[in-house]
């Protein structure tokens, strides 16, 4: 094996996001307990588990809303455990929410432009003047937003207030806003929750496009087992705050603990 090859191997093997021994308690309730997982660069990784398994709590720790009681979360080897959410966003982790969190008083375009916030530099004075650099910057970033608008087919909604859009469209705009950040890692909290089959297919296609065309690593929380098993490279299973399984979709479906805790229980879990 040549030196160049082993380097390339190591780069591919080094995970972009690592979660190591992370625990979080709320009062007496343990939401997440000693969870470790690795997200390979360029992969689509799903986190599944029954309701209350700690999936969203885990995501909230990665994006900085909760600080873990123990454990380390690292992006490309740098610990981000103690950073504020805005700092983590600037490092390149974007996310969407289970209950859509768009800026409802602003247009689709402005929502996307806000996604560009960390890439823009204009200060108070140059903004107030709106001349020269500030204006050029606005136009340059508008172009980047238009690429995303085209990518997600939102052209005719550009100047619509997001508060007036349908549920599926708002989910799509929220994905667009996260993409505008040009993230290295995209966290999606139930992007297909509450959608019908057509909308789910659209969203799954968007997620795949994001992953393949834009090379963004995706971490997905999703309840639809069909979608999860179809598009994921890796699946991690949580139950009552603990990790009970992980691996390729095929491996996970064969793990007895997973079948017992999730897929085989009375909730059924879907189409597998």
């Amino acid at each position: 094996m040549s030196a160049a090859e082993s380097l390339a191997d190591r780069a591919a093997a080094s995970p972009i996001l690592t979660v190591q021994g992370v625990s979080k308690k709320f009062g007496g309730v343990t939401a997440v307990q000693d969870v470790s997982l690795e997200v390979p660069r360029g992969a689509i990784v799903s986190v599944i588990g029954p309701n209350g398994a700690g999936k969203t709590s885990l995501l909230n720790m990665v994006s900085g809303f909760y600080r873990p009681d123990t454990g380390v979360i690292a992006l490309e080897g740098d610990a981000i455990t103690t950073l504020r959410p805005s700092q983590i966003a600037a490092r390149g982790i974007a996310r969407t929410f289970q209950n859509i969190a768009l800026f409802s008083g602003l247009t689709v375009l402005d929502n996307l432009m806000l996604g560009r916030h960390v890439h823009m530099r204009a200060g108070v004075l140059s903004s107030a003047l709106y001349w020269g650099p500030a204006r050029k910057e606005e136009i340059a970033h508008r172009e980047r937003c238009e690429e995303i608008i085209e990518f997600l087919k939102l052209q005719d909604l550009r100047k619509q207030q997001t508060g007036a859009l349908s549920y599926g469209l708002r989910k799509r705009v929220e994905l667009g806003r996260a993409l505008a950040l040009e993230p290295k890692v995209l966290l999606l909290d139930e992007p297909m929750g509450g959608m019908n089959q057509d909308e789910k297919e659209d969203m799954a296609r968007h997620v795949l496009d994001v992953n393949i065309e834009r090379g963004v690593t995706v971490v997905l929380i999703e309840h639809d087992m069909g979608v999860v098993m179809d598009i994921s490279d890796r699946v991690f299973v949580l139950d009552r705050g603990r990790r009970i399984g992980g691996g390729t979709p095929e491996e996970v479906q064969r793990t007895p603990a997973v079948i017992q805790a999730y897929l085989g229980t009375s909730k059924g879990g879907g189409q597998t």
């Binding site: 966003a89 974007a94 929410f97 969190a101 108070v124 003047l129 136009i139």
Partner: protein, 362 residues
């Protein structure tokens, strides 16, 4: 004003992002600007100097109010933080400028930004509670700020200039030209009003303004896309207070005296009324609200004085006027909050949208 978009195509993002993308809108703005510039001459030609001066003095008050209302709207309307301390920030600007002008004989082009910056600094400090609390609690915290600043200015002679807590300042002058008469002050104030309006329009359509609105609409989502909400809340307080400080300086030069009684809590409420009646989160709304709230007491005085003599003794009229003013004010705020929370700006938009497709109803 009334215009339609059909047949106008934009081919660049720059054209689409212009403040007034349509040629006819640009023309409208130019016509309004010309009318505003010519107004004093028209008034001077139409009526005797005394009444022309009277009307100009009212317009000058409106100009000053517009600057303050724009500032408060940035904080309350755009960023969604509440402040009942706006008048106190004006007094900070006013006394800063007055002290600089009197003690060191500095010209207005130094005292004006200095007053604004000092108010911005104090405003950011008063805004610190906004990092932890929202809504009603923040209102109380800023109310405390208002009272503390009011008390301090009133009780520290080094700031207030002695027992009357007032400092006389010379009229502003530039290159030996002194702005003395109402007509001259009109142009002095007009310059700063135009500056404030353009700066606000630009601010709210660019990176900073979008971040403010993001905090108003969804502070959690704002943080997640990389907006440091602590920093931007304080920035909103600072910018808003800068406007307030400048308002205080302008008012001081207009009156020729800095007096804490001009910046009491009632004035804070007046400014809140302006942006609620005019329209929260709207530049045009700030302007309309400032005009409306400035003219309202004058209109009430005029009505009560001409009709009230039928009912009241002449000596009581002043008393009645001030009470009617307060009642009308409260009533109007309630009416607007219930019937048209987006204020005069929304009413205007409704009218405009109606004529945009007129005579069709779709």
């Amino acid at each position: 004003m009334f215009h339609r978009e059909s047949g106008i195509f934009k081919t660049t993002y720059a054209a689409d992002m212009a403040l007034y993308p349509l040629p006819i809108a640009k023309a409208t703005v130019a016509v309004i600007a010309a009318a505003v510039v010519l107004l004093p001459f028209v008034l001077g030609a139409l009526m005797p100097a005394l009444s022309a001066n009277y009307y100009l003095s009212i317009i000058n008050l409106i100009f000053i109010a517009i600057v303050g209302a724009l500032g408060l709207n940035i904080l309350v309307g755009y960023t969604g933080q509440i402040s009942i301390g706006h008048a106190a920030f004006m007094s900070v600007g006013a006394y800063t400028a007055a002290n600089l002008a009197v003690r060191w004989d500095l010209p207005f082009w130094i005292t004006l930004p200095a007053g604004g910056l000092m108010a911005a600094l104090i405003g950011a400090v008063v805004g610190i509670p906004s990092l932890r609390i929202k809504g009603l609690y923040l209102a109380i915290a800023t109310l405390a700020g208002q009272l503390i600043i009011e008390w301090t200015i009133n009780h520290v002679p080094a700031i207030s200039g002695g027992a009357q807590a007032s400092i006389e300042v010379p009229k502003p002058h530039l290159f030996g030209y002194e702005f003395k008469t109402q007509g001259q002050l009109y142009f002095f104030l007009l310059f700063f009003v135009a500056l404030a309006i353009v700066a606000t329009l630009n601010l709210v359509r660019s990176r900073i303004g979008r971040a403010f609105v993001a905090i108003r609409d969804q502070d959690i989502a704002a943080e997640i896309i990389g907006i440091n909400i602590y920093r931007y809340k304080l920035l909103a307080f600072a910018i808003s207070s800068f406007y307030a400080g400048v308002t205080g300086v302008l008012y001081t030069y207009y009156l020729g005296i800095a007096n804490y009684e001009q910046f009491q809590i009632v004035v804070s409420i007046d400014y809140l009324a302006m942006i609620i009646i005019g329209g929260l989160g709207s530049v045009l709304g700030s302007v309309l609200g400032a005009i409306f709230v400035t003219l309202l007491p004058i209109a009430i005085t005029w009505i009560v004085e001409s009709l009230g003599t039928l009912v009241f003794e002449m000596q009581q009229i002043q008393h009645v006027v001030s009470n009617v003013r307060v009642i009308t004010f409260g009533l109007l705020i309630i009416v607007f909050l219930v019937l048209e929370p987006e204020g005069l700006n929304r009413l205007w938009r409704n009218i405009r949208n109606y004529f945009r497709v007129w005579p069709f109803s779709y």
